[in-house]
């Protein structure tokens, strides 16, 4: 039997005290309350580590970069140990055929009982030739590896929605994981990248409770994606008061007013940035004075400028905002009405005064 998480941790010289602190912190970050801490500890002490295969498709590795910076000093050690990360071509020492053999070994040994974490997505055009993994199209590797998996985690905007490589016109037909794989539970963890603690939190939840977290309509864990940036933003008071930065260097920007008018996408973006922040709670985009760009929302590259509140709508052909279309429409209708009214008045005048005897 594989070692339990606790055994691995102790072997690595982590004290029981530190271990229990980690359990309490994890319980808190998952929103489970203090009663869950002993349950997490118990699970980590008794359960065998679940093997995880971490695949990389079309991506930029920002998810991995975020993940390995998981803030709490223990978290990265714990999670990297917890995961039993049997395969991750970016992080592992093995390479070539030796590395590829691991996937096969895990698939056989833990059939139906391993997790596939996917970073990036498979491009489908040209039979998937835009992304080659070990000499074969990534889409084939992905389908094979997921076939016997217990669950699949889609890391980041790439795996969840497609991200920049799927932005219009999407030349490689980069496709999110859930549109390629069916019949398996898939957890979308969007963001470009997702917050490190969100990533470790999702994994910890799955290993601890042996089930996937509760998901919303778009397959995202509710505990991290249940509210908008705007709902928890520390500048929300300025929004409600009607106090906005109107230029990047004005008085409002200096005073830390709401960035809504500067195109902040906080009101339309579901993520935990405003409550968990980044880099161990050091800061996050709005705190550093730049609006949210909505990187955890579907197709955020194709939704107009990052710096406009009322953004362009492209499905109507030429790029235009609702306001420009609306003002043009209302203006045209108004002008047409004025012209129509003038002609009506003329017609009426002619009818009543011009030729009274011709009518009736």
């Amino acid at each position: 039997m594989t070692e339990t998480f606790y055994e691995v941790l102790r072997r690595q010289g982590i004290t029981r005290r530190s271990f229990l602190k980690f359990c309490s912190l994890t319980a808190t970050s998952l929103g489970l309350g203090s009663a869950a801490a002993p349950r997490i500890a118990h699970a980590l002490e008794t359960k065998a580590r679940t093997p995880v295969i971490w695949l990389h498709g079309l991506e930029c590795t920002c998810c991995s970069e975020s993940f390995i910076r998981s803030a709490h000093p223990l978290t990265k050690d714990v999670v990297l140990s917890m995961l039993s990360l049997d395969y991750d071509d970016t992080l592992m020492a093995a390479a070539g055929h030796q590395a590829e053999a691991i996937i096969e070994a895990v698939k056989k040994k833990y059939k139906g009982n391993y997790i596939v974490a996917v970073e990036g997505n498979p491009p489908l055009n040209e039979d998937g030739m835009f992304c080659i993994h070990g000499g074969r199209p990534f889409v084939e590797i992905l389908k094979e590896t997921c076939a016997d998996a217990k669950a699949i985690i889609s890391w980041g905007a790439c795996a969840s929605y497609g991200c920049v490589q799927a932005a219009k016109p999407n030349p490689t037909r980069a496709t999110p994981v859930h549109k390629v794989i069916s019949g398996k539970p898939i957890i979308n963890v969007p963001g470009c990248p997702p917050i490190a603690e969100v990533m470790t939190g999702v994994v910890t939840y799955m290993l601890t409770f042996d089930r996937i977290p509760e998901l919303d309509r778009q397959g995202r864990p509710k505990m991290f994606y249940g509210q908008r940036i705007h709902d928890k933003c520390y500048r929300r008071g300025h929004f409600d008061a009607g106090q906005f930065a109107e230029a990047w260097d004005d008085e409002g920007a200096r005073k830390g007013y709401c960035l809504y008018k500067m195109g902040c996408k906080g009101p339309t973006t579901y993520n935990a940035c405003s409550s968990m922040r980044w880099n161990g709670g050091v800061s996050w985009p709005v705190q550093s004075g730049h609006g949210c760009i909505g990187c955890s929302e579907e197709g955020f590259w194709d939704k107009g400028s990052f710096y406009d509140r009322v953004t362009s709508i492209t499905p109507f052909g030429a790029e235009a905002t609702a306001d420009s279309i609306g003002k043009a429409a209302a203006g045209t209708v108004g002008a047409a009405i004025a012209a129509h009214a003038a002609v009506s008045a003329l017609a009426r005048a002619r009818k009543s005064h011009g030729q009274p005897d011709k009518e009736n």
Binding site: A241, G242, T268, T311, I325, A341, R348
Partner: protein, 234 residues
């Protein structure tokens, strides 16, 4: 069928009486409340997307966006509840109450009336016809640019409201599916705003057509929506 019946009714009554009761009290009350709600919704909605200039002083002394959003949501509830009530009245009210909910599209006579009205508005017909309810052209416009659009605005509006009310709230449970369907929150905001502009363009046409018909056609319009009685001029 509806319009043919309507027209015959108008002709028959026109010969005998000079007025006929068309819009029952609930319809009239709804019309004016709805009009008021729409004005509030359009103005506040515009300023939710493009807020007023920034407020000076301390944040604690202001609640401008809060009040604007409150007015928007309050008016939205009046609009939505009104629409529900109006739908109910379509079932229990007189047959004119059903006009904006149902188009007699299988009736060729009705279509020819639509084209007659189109020609009338294009100054190609010299003498207008008499109608007790909406003329067929008005009915067509009303159906698409008010009834359908209003339902769309209620659905997108409550879906967006559900985002603030929170996951699991009834607004979210009933209407939350609209957001992924239309491509995300930002998209829904944009479409909701576009809907406002279309609705306002419709209001312009509606008010203009009512005033024009009141003057140029053979029956009363504006006073009918106040008193309920359609007066015929000849």
């Amino acid at each position: 069928m509806l319009s043919q019946q309507d027209m015959l009714e108008a002709e028959r009554h026109g010969k005998q009486v000079r007025s006929i009761y068309v819009y029952e009290a609930p319809v009239r009350l709804w019309h004016w409340l709805n009009a008021l709600a729409m004005v509030v919704l359009a103005v506040t909605g515009y300023f939710v997307g493009q807020p007023l200039p920034t407020q000076p002083g301390e944040a604690a002394t202001h609640f401008l966006m809060g009040y604007i959003r409150f007015a928007h949501f309050a008016a939205a509830y009046i609009f939505a509840v009104g629409l529900l009530g109006r739908t109910y009245w379509a079932f229990v009210g007189n047959h004119h109450a059903r006009q904006i909910f149902r188009l007699p599209i299988t009736n060729p006579q009705w279509w020819s009336e639509v084209f007659f009205e189109l020609r009338w508005y294009l100054f190609l017909e010299k003498t207008p016809k008499k109608y007790v309810g909406h003329n067929p052209m008005a009915q067509l416009m009303m159906f698409f640019f008010f009834t359908i659009l209003a339902v769309g605005m209620v659905f997108t509006g409550f879906a967006l409201y559900g985002e603030g009310a929170g996951v699991g709230n009834w607004q979210d449970r009933l209407f939350g599916w609209v957001i992924p369907l239309l491509g995300g929150s930002l998209q829904v905001h944009g479409l909701h705003r576009l809907g406002m502009w279309i609705m306002m363009s419709f209001v312009l046409v509606h008010v203009y057509a009512a005033v024009r018909e009141d003057i140029m056609s053979r029956q009363s319009l504006i006073s009918t929506m106040v008193s309920g009685w359609r007066m015929f001029k000849d």
